[in-house]
């Protein structure tokens, strides 16, 4: 179960992005970026397995469910997985600020690239504000998502907890 926890949690987030939350039009970019952020975070958490191919699969699912062009969120997730894999493992908080900075830089590049890609896809300049707003919000949300995933991994379903329970018995 723990082995599939990263993929399952991101899958859950993909389904959550498709649900009609009633967010305003400017905030529609936030939830998909949270999915990319989760991919990035899982790749930096030591021992968590989310291969790039898995990230692409999850991104494709997001594309299929969103009705947008196929390959867009897959590409975003793949970039997130690649950078997350190269950013080095998180050492329980000591590298947290560095990873936050890396995510901030990455999401800035992703937002610009995503805006250009979307504009190229439709042959017109699309509104940049929702993308910029989503990127800024994702930077603010990074600690919540990162510590949330660490809690999910180590707090409830992690092997450490299982060992504690076995030791207690």
């Amino acid at each position: 179960m723990t082995k599939y926890l990263p993929a399952l949690s991101v899958l859950f987030a993909v389904v959550a992005t498709a649900v009609p939350w009633g967010l305003p039009a400017d905030a529609t970019f936030i939830l998909p970026l949270v999915v990319v952020m989760m991919v990035f975070c899982w790749r930096t958490i030591p021992g968590a397995a989310l291969p790039p191919a898995g990230a692409v699969g999850i991104g494709l699912l997001a594309d299929l469910m969103s009705g947008g062009p196929i390959g867009y969120w897959a590409l975003m997730c793949l970039i997130g997985a690649t950078v997350g894999g190269r950013a080095g493992s998180l050492r329980e908080g000591s590298d947290f600020v560095l990873h936050w900075l890396i995510w901030s830089a990455l999401v800035t590049v992703l937002a610009g690239f995503g805006w250009l890609l979307a504009s190229a896809y439709y042959f017109r300049w699309i509104d940049w504000w929702p993308i910029a707003f989503g990127a800024m919000t994702s930077i603010v949300l990074f600690p919540v998502v990162m510590f949330g995933l660490l809690w999910v991994r180590h707090g409830r379903l992690g092997p450490e907890r299982n060992e504690i329970f076995r030791g207690g018995a």
Partner: protein, 335 residues
Amino acid sequence: MRERGSPLFRRHRPSWRAPVELLSFGLYFLCAVLLVLSRIGHGAIADARDGLVDLTAPLLEVASIPAIEARRAIERGRLYAAAFKEVDHLKKENESLKQWEWQTKLLERKVAHLRSLLNAVEEPGLVYATGRVIADARGPFVRSALINLGRKDGVRIGYAVINGDGLVGRTVDTGESFARVLLLNDLNSRIPVLVGPAGVRGLASGDNSAELKLNFLPDDAKAYPGDEVYTSGSDGVLPRGLRVGVVSGTPGALKVKPYAKLNALDAVSVLFFDTPALQRADPQVAAAPAALSALPTDKADHPATASASLPIAAIMEHVGAAGLPSVGGQAQAER
């Protein structure tokens, strides 16, 4: 001993491994190819999307329940917080509506008299089905929603979708049990409209923002902020007279503020309005020999499909107590 060097530049892999790098390159290439195929509208992509959405529609329907309930709870909370103010507002509105009711009855009688003088043919009532929004599309590309009505309910590509407030969009994709609705504010949405009492012709275009651009108005157009905007039907796809929104913005840069809250849709109705243009776009449209509005022949007794004269109670039973979707829709459909 502390390991030296920034983790940013520290690689997990001790050496270059060709298969991994190749796989990574292959994945990037795959994404690029899929984007191109998606742009040119390859059939396999559309089929895969339809298949997957059909498969996940029940899951999305279940997953959307907590979100919709949470949204309703927030709305209820807001309503309770402003209950007294709301009661005063509703009292005033009720007085105003009583006046309107009296005027409407007078006008109805006049219209009926004039129609009888002209020996005018009765317009066919529109048939519709009511369903729920089960998923939203997010991102920079699309503003669309999935609804739990599909081909099995008689829904085809190009049908107008409305709710109690006004026009929501039109169907652009249909599966067996779902349909995708392109919302008014999507980049690809273009709605021919009539503006104001003068009925000035224009085009309401979406740009992914909350309001629509109002383009192609004549130079001397008498259109002002506050004017009502409704469909002209000149595209041969949407019925004429559906409420779209109200003109906002400043002269020279007029916009349309949709009546329907496009970011918080719940229950919506699909109008079965078959036209020759739709039959070209979606060959599976059942031909309607006598009227533009046609009940799907194989689904005539389907509970989700209702004629314009169907009692509201039956629709309520289908959409749930909180739906209240089609009171305005019925009125619009009969305009």
